[in-house]
Structure formats: structure tokens, C-alpha cells
């Protein structure tokens, strides 16, 4: 037996993302954002997308490009404060924005990736974040909110290193939502700064195991400038 290879180029990797798809996008700020796959999705042109991402990047980069191109219809996120374009699009109702507390967003995605339906949490009780949510009273008499699992049609992931089977390693704070989203989509596409031969990653050092990853895109050795340190 041997493990198969899932290496593909960026354009082909996103070519079957249809109009109306839900797409999880990794990253917290610049670290971990799959800029190359996002650019490929812009070029591909699928519209009416539901994007699930912790934040909205900053003006002119990352998922802001999907906003500018008119491809983003909905955004499920925790914070968009660094992107004035997104705040304006929300205020003008051009994009429907759903805010989720950051850790609840992460846990809903993890729950989806773990094949579960929902979890119970007391986060947000007593605030407007709890409005409209189903409540359950546990035997201890306490009331909890039902937080449904979050899954998506596709996940776009950025990894520091991968092998052809889709085993992934992340770097420093670029890990963030990437390993969670990699588990929670029907089709997971990972771009990687370094693609090693099978066996090139020590099994003990893998953050996301290959069975979660469907497609691997190798990034050029010289990364585009957008991956670099943000100049402010």
C-alpha cells in the first residue's frame, strides 16, 4: 500500500467551488490567511458566497478582495474592525454579517469537524449575543445556550508545511483557525509554503492529519509580498 498524492495547482483546486457555496477561510490577521487560494477564488469568480472567517483582514488584502469583487453575500465572523470596507458593506446591507464570539466560533467549527451536532455553553447569556438562541436547562438547574456545529462546503487553509497526502504543519500564530476549519469542510484545500515528499513530516509533528485534507497547493518559494510583515 501507499498513500496517494493530492497536489494540484491553485486554479484547479478552486475550480469546482459553485455559486452559493459556503467557504471557511483560515487566518487571524495576516498569519495563516491563504492569500493565494483567495486570489484564485477571485479569479474563478464564484458568487453569492458565505464566507466564514475569524476576521475580515484589512482593506485591499485577503477576503477584502472577495468583498470588492462582489462575490461575498454573507460573512460569519468574530471581528471586522480592521477593515473599514467590510464595516461599510455591513452598514449598507451589501453583506449580511453574523457576529459570533471568537471562542464560540472556533468551538462551533471544531464541533462540526468532529462530526457532532451542537454543544451547550453559557457564553453570552445576559447579552444580546444570546438573543434568539435555543436554551436548555441541565439537571443541575443551570440554563445553557445551544450552539450548533458549523460546517462548510469548502475550507481554504494556509500551512507552513505539507506532504502530498495532505498532512499539515502550521507556524506560530498562523495556526489559529486553520486546523479547525480543515476538519469542518466537505472539501478542504490547503496551500503550503513547503511541500515535502511523503515521510518528510515526522508523524509526531503533524498538526492536521491528511485524511482531513483533499487538495494540496504548493506556494512559490518566493512568497508574494502580502504574506510579509504588515507595514503600518
Amino acid at each position: 500500500m501507499r498513500l496517494d498524492s493530492r497536489i494540484i495547482d491553485a486554479a484547479r483546486a478552486v475550480a469546482d467551488i459553485p455559486d452559493g457555496a459556503s467557504v471557511m477561510v483560515g487566518g487571524f490577521g495576516v498569519p495563516g490567511t491563504p492569500f493565494t487560494l483567495i486570489r484564485a477564488l477571485v479569479d474563478h469568480g464564484a458568487r453569492d458566497l458565505t464566507i466564514i472567517k475569524n476576521d475580515a483582514n484589512e482593506s485591499g488584502m485577503g477576503i477584502d478582495l472577495l468583498l470588492q469583487s462582489g462575490q461575498m453575500a454573507r460573512l460569519i465572523t468574530s471581528h471586522i474592525g480592521l477593515n473599514a470596507n467590510m464595516v461599510a458593506a455591513m452598514n449598507e446591507s451589501r453583506v449580511a454579517v453574523e457576529f459570533v464570539p471568537q471562542g464560540i466560533l472556533a468551538e462551533r467549527i471544531r464541533t462540526g469537524g468532529a462530526g457532532m451536532a451542537a454543544f451547550l455553553s453559557d457564553i453570552g447569556i445576559g447579552t444580546r449575543m444570546a438573543e434568539g438562541k435555543q436554551r436548555v436547562t441541565m439537571p443541575d438547574g443551570r440554563s445553557y445556550l445551544v450552539e450548533p456545529a458549523l460546517r462548510a462546503d469548502f475550507a481554504l487553509i494556509h500551512a507552513a508545511a505539507a506532504d502530498g497526502f495532505g498532512n499539515l504543519r502550521f507556524a506560530a500564530s498562523a495556526r489559529n483557525f486553520n486546523p479547525l476549519m480543515a476538519m469542518a469542510a466537505r472539501t478542504t484545500i490547503a496551500e503550503a509554503e513547503c511541500v515535502l515528499p511523503l515521510g518528510g513530516l515526522d508523524p509526531d509533528d503533524i498538526h492536521t492529519p491528511g485524511p482531513f485534507v483533499d487538495r494540496v497547493v504548493a506556494l512559490p518559494e518566493s512568497l508574494p509580498e502580502v504574506y510579509g510583515v504588515v507595514k503600518r
Binding site: 464570539p101 468551538e107 506560530a172 489559529n176
Partner: protein, 220 residues
């Protein structure tokens, strides 16, 4: 940077004194992060960043940043020996499960009963709460750092918050440029006064009823 003995720096220094050896601490963006200037470099403290770091170290100098290493406020930080990286679900497991000993947060309004509003001003500031709700609700101890009044001179400490809450009844202690106030079951207690500030001034600039302890009030 303001001078080291300005009311603002004394407020930051006073908050820093409540960061104790062995704590796991999360500092909000803005004033809370500036508290670090007053934490002794040798004090053993584990800073948590909600984007997946325990053991955050000092901000790196321009030119030596690691493009993969930011804190939750976007600052290019370093890590201390013994630091760890983890995903966002693990990061908030640390917060919700009681491993976070202290968080220091900013405030738009904080009420005498410990209600905190710091994430939304309907109609003008609606960026989303990020991780603030979980930090405020689940840190074992929550401190708020704020000027005592806003730019228009209105109290930041109010009888009841008018803005959407981050979390109800979550605040334990409030540090301002005028005073330290503690949220207690009996109400808001004036615990300490800044140098040169009178009790009457604090009472006048506080929008919530303030309990004045008997005897001399400590100074900071």
C-alpha cells in the same frame, strides 16, 4: 509616551501591581497592553494571546519581526522561553475552563454592579466582539482600566450601562486615573485614591453610588 508620574502612568502602574507571580494573564488592546511597561521584567507571568499563544514576550523591533507571530492586537511580538502555540479552540478552552487568572480590559461604560460594555456603540462602532465576551465572562478576575471620565467629562462608571453589554456582573476592580474601585456584593467601594485627588472629586465624577470606607483611604 507620557511622563512616568502622570496620572495615566500611575493608573497603569497601579494595575500592574495586581499582576502577580505565576498568573496567566490576558491584556486587552489599548490601555491594558500598556500596563506591561510597569510589570517588572523578572516577574514570572504567562501572557496569553487569544490567537493562540501562551508565553507572549516583548514586541519586536522594526526589522526583526516574525511574519507568523502576532498577538491578538496585531502587534509583532516575541515569545518567552517555555511559550506554546495552539489553535483558537484550545485558546478559548484556556479562557473558559478557568485557567486565565486575570484579564485587564478597556471600557466604554462599566456599572457599579460590574456590568461591562466595551464592544459596541450601536450606529457608530460595530466591529464585533472578537474574544471580549469570553474573556470578560470567564477570566477568574476581571479588571477594567479606563480614564475616570470620557473626553466630554462624563463618568465612565455609571449606575447602569446604556450600551450593549459585553458581560453582566463580570468586573471585579476598576482602575482609573483618579481611583481604584472594587465591585462588591454591597456595591461599588472606593478602595484607593490617586495622589492629589480628593474623595469628593471621585464621588462627583462617578455615575454610580460609591461606598466610602471608614478611615484613611490608601493612595497610589
Amino acid at each position: 509616551m507620557s511622563s512616568s508620574d502622570s496620572p495615566r502612568e500611575r493608573m497603569l502602574a497601579r494595575a500592574a501591581r495586581d499582576i502577580r507571580a505565576g498568573m496567566v494573564v490576558n491584556l486587552g488592546i489599548g490601555l491594558p497592553t500598556q500596563v506591561l511597561r510597569h510589570v517588572p521584567p523578572a516577574l514570572p507571568v504567562c501572557l496569553h494571546a487569544e490567537n493562540g499563544i501562551s508565553g507572549v514576550g516583548p514586541v519586536r523591533a522594526k526589522g526583526s519581526e516574525d511574519r507568523n507571530l502576532i498577538d491578538a492586537g496585531g502587534a509583532y511580538v516575541s515569545t518567552l522561553p517555555g511559550a506554546a502555540f495552539f489553535d483558537s479552540a484550545v485558546s478559548f478552552a484556556i479562557v473558559r475552563s478557568g485557567r486565565l487568572d486575570l484579564t485587564l480590559l478597556g471600557a466604554f461604560e462599566v456599572a457599579g454592579n460590574g456590568d461591562l460594555a466595551n464592544w459596541m456603540i450601536p450606529g457608530s462602532f460595530t466591529p464585533g466582539a472578537g474574544g471580549a465576551i469570553e474573556l470578560a465572562q470567564k477570566a477568574r478576575r476581571v479588571g477594567v482600566i479606563t480614564t475616570h471620565t470620557d473626553k466630554a467629562g462624563r463618568p465612565k462608571i455609571v449606575a447602569s450601562c446604556s450600551l450593549p453589554l459585553t458581560a453582566p456582573g463580570c468586573v471585579d476592580r476598576i482602575y482609573t486615573d483618579l481611583a481604584v474601585c472594587d465591585v462588591t456584593p454591597d456595591g461599588l467601594v472606593l478602595a484607593e485614591l490617586a495622589a492629589g485627588v480628593t474623595t469628593a472629586e471621585v464621588v462627583a465624577k462617578t455615575g454610580a453610588p460609591l461606598i466610602l470606607p471608614a478611615g484613611e483611604i490608601p493612595r497610589f
